[in-house]
Amino acid sequence: MNNRHFFMRMSLSNLKLNKQTYIPFIFTSVFTAAMFYIIVSLSGNPDLENTLGGSALKSLLGLGTWVTGLFAFIFLFYTFSFLFKRRKKEIGIYNVLGMEKKHISRVIAGEILIVFLISIILGLVIGMLLDKLMFLIVAKIIGAKASMGFYVSVEGLVKTVLLLAAIFILIFLNSIRQVHFNNPIELLKGGNIGEREPKAKWILALLGIICVGIGYYISLTTDNIVTAMSTFLIAVVLVIVGTYMLFVAGSIAILKLLKKNKKYYYKSSHFISVSGMIYRMKQNGVGLANICIISTMILIMLASTCTLWVGVNETVDRLYPNDVQVTARLPQAKAEMLFDNLENQLKINDIKTENVLKYRSLEVDAEQKGNTFYTYGDNNVVDSNMRTLYFLTCDDYNRIMGTDINLLSDNQVMVSAPEKDYKGDSISINENSYQVIKIDNQNLKTVPEKGSIYPSQFVIVKNQQVMDKIKNNVENHGEGLLNDEWNYVCNANVTKEQGERIIDNINNNLSEEESYWVNCNFRNVSEEAIVGMYAGLMFVGIFLSILFLMTMVLIIYYKQISEGYDDRNRYRIMQNVGLDKREIKRSIRSQVMTVFFLPLIVACAHVAAAFPLIGRMLEGFGMMNIWLYVKVTLLALAVFAIFYAAVYTLTSKLYYKIVN
């Protein structure tokens, strides 16, 4: 009668017997379940949606859901199959003792079921508690008032249960497969079959170098944000693939070279570690590459999102140098009506305005070839020679700057290029050439850049006729972006609420088509949207970093345990042959150090190489202060390295314990 109980009891006692490996696994899956629940719940939280910038954050979290789910899947599966390999011998014994594979499968099913239930229950409880906490933190960062109600995401519950169930079913099937396709003797031998010394795969190693090299090259040669966006993915894939090849094949190739150098190899300090490392790299190349890639992701994610957040005020200053910024692509009469209406609104709200400027500008995208700018041709959007040109008249320039410059002829222009210095003596717009009069680049600061994705340049022409001539010329060529705009800028203390009201009022006075051509920006209104978005980005960055970090810690933990068991016998033999404990410890340390700090060093190289690319992408978010990014990256690196070292120290203690 008690068959079922018997199997269940066996499952339970197996869990207890293998607690050293099962507890970390359960911990992992509980944490994974909790994380997954939180991210699903946050992305569906109605309170979050109602906050400013919430919708951007929501779609980001939606993306995060996929990443987390995929990661959870790979990681739990990988961990369990590792765990299971260690138990082959035990299963072989059951088999020899007369349990059928069917019965063993039942015991394993019981074990997996128990682990699943623990994970799902604990995971969801912890998830729900942390969810509330996380939400309060996000809301706090964004500056929204979060309601304190307890919110349970049904979607989160369902999705988490489904995800975990799917993972555990696959884990179960894989374990059954291993039990069924092995005979008892093989199971008994387990991992003890002598391993072949790995061969050096030079071609693979070379390919790895080439992949990483190309990835680096792409990053280092990207000087344009549009290019950055489009090549980022290619570079990332190349570097990831290359990293795997390097760790798996390159490391062994290097060690083989060291081994060939007999003078080097037959030294007591190198002898043991080189030969040991060759085997270690064979087993752990993939794991180390994982650690390396995860470290790189964490560092880049943390550094870039935190940089955006820390530099948010600077970014807002750059994008909105003026409190009020209105541009209208409308006929002059219409535009003046609009500006009158705006001034009226400001007056009604009792807002004092300062430094009011009204001017006309012409915005043109062009490709630079030497001193000539072409507004037509094969204008590829990813071309790094693309520039945005803003044309102003000399009169407007003098009014804005308070200067009194006279351009003598229609053929004279002044050029100011804040981002990419323009050094030519002449400048051509398509076929028309102009003489360049030098001015100080800093002077044009008060004229707002419009946050173009290309580096921008200001060209000051003699008068409206010259500007119209250019406009006609560009229009005749018929391609590319051309915006003839009326601008209104001023400094005024407009609160967010006032700003929103004024924007509504202005839009109400315009037809739908007209309002499409009008762009009203109040600094305080836009600021909150940007702050919200960047805070959200940072939150997602930190959230995913924690997730990756946890994964990394567990990979390291399992690696240390498995290596400890593998190496235990080796060190016992060496002790018998006359290697003393101190030497053993030294040899272990040098091996473990290399193995664990190699990924960190390579990750640093990746981060450094990604620098230009990430820098350009940050420019895309309006963040131009590259030094801030440098500082934040270094800080993130320092924190990460300390954390990494701590994990290493703790886990290597475990390793020593097993080895001794």
């Binding site: 002598g194 072949r196 007999k262 002898f271 033999i573 018998n576 006359g578 404990k581």
Partner: protein
């Protein structure tokens, strides 16, 4: 003076809660002269392994002393022990204890590399040894690629290459088929004839027959000794078998 002097050696194991004391060795005394080949026999649990571990400086005696060329092993500090072991002792184990991560050549070099010897020196040492042991062809193979007999010969090479004062062998034929076992014993005799002192723990009467002296241990004491002397192989085999029968049937004879 004997090369190895074992005086009043005692080893008492105390169980976890200290309530039970198990005497593994009870007042063991014997000497081994230079150039001797001694086999130690005894049933499972008689204390042979404990004795070997203490001789190998892997374990410490509860009381008594072990002197190798007059130096008391038990008095060595932890840091001296490994160097002592490396310089003075060679080991041959039942399960070979070769490292899978090293080729046969590197396995043999291991103790020399640990002592910081130069490559030329190691090569010069290995050359005649490999010839004598017949392992020239397998030097660049890995342990998992060669047979048990070959592995054990490689292990012997590793034990001998440091010119140890004493070779300790723990059931060296235990994992070998009879042909490989015979071969190994012939090798032991050969290196013994070249002056190498050997102490071997074994279960196998055949293995013990090749020794110059056989020492029997029972319940942690030296029970009896016989010398090969002028005895023929068959006579020796007979004698050993008789004593083993006596041991098994519970004879109580002391020297």
């Amino acid at each position: 003076m004997s090369m190895l002097e074992v005086n009043n050696l005692k080893k008492v194991y105390v169980t976890h809660f200290g309530s039970n004391k198990v005497k593994a060795l009870d007042n063991v005394t014997f000497n081994v002269d230079e150039g001797e080949f001694v086999a130690v026999m005894g049933e499972s649990g008689s204390g042979k392994t404990t004795l070997l571990n203490i001789l190998a400086s892997l374990d410490k005696p509860t009381s008594g002393e072990v002197r190798l060329e007059g130096k008391n092993i038990a008095m060595l500090s932890e840091s001296e022990i490994s160097a002592f072991r490396r310089q003075n002792l060679g080991f041959v184990f039942q399960d070979f204890n070769l490292l899978d991560t090293f080729s046969i050549r590197d396995n043999i070099y291991l103790p020399l590399v640990l002592s910081g010897k130069k490559l030329d020196y190691m090569q010069k040492k290995l050359e005649p040894l490999a010839k004598m042991l017949g392992i020239n062809d397998i030097l660049d193979k890995f342990p998992y690629e060669v047979s048990g007999g070959q592995k054990q010969r490689a292990a012997v090479a590793r034990a001998v290459i440091t010119d140890p004062k004493l070779i300790l062998a723990d059931e060296p034929t235990g994992a070998l088929d009879s042909r490989s076992a015979d071969e190994l014993l012939r090798l032991f005799n050969k290196i013994n004839n070249q002056g190498q002192t050997i102490l071997m723990v074994t279960h196998s009467t055949k293995a013990a027959c090749s020794a110059k002296r056989v020492m029997f241990i029972k319940d942690g004491r030296v029970f009896h000794q016989i010398y090969r002397g002028e005895n023929t192989y068959e006579e020796m085999y007979q004698k050993i078998s008789q004593i083993l029968t006596l041991l098994a049937t519970g004879g109580d004879r002391d020297e």
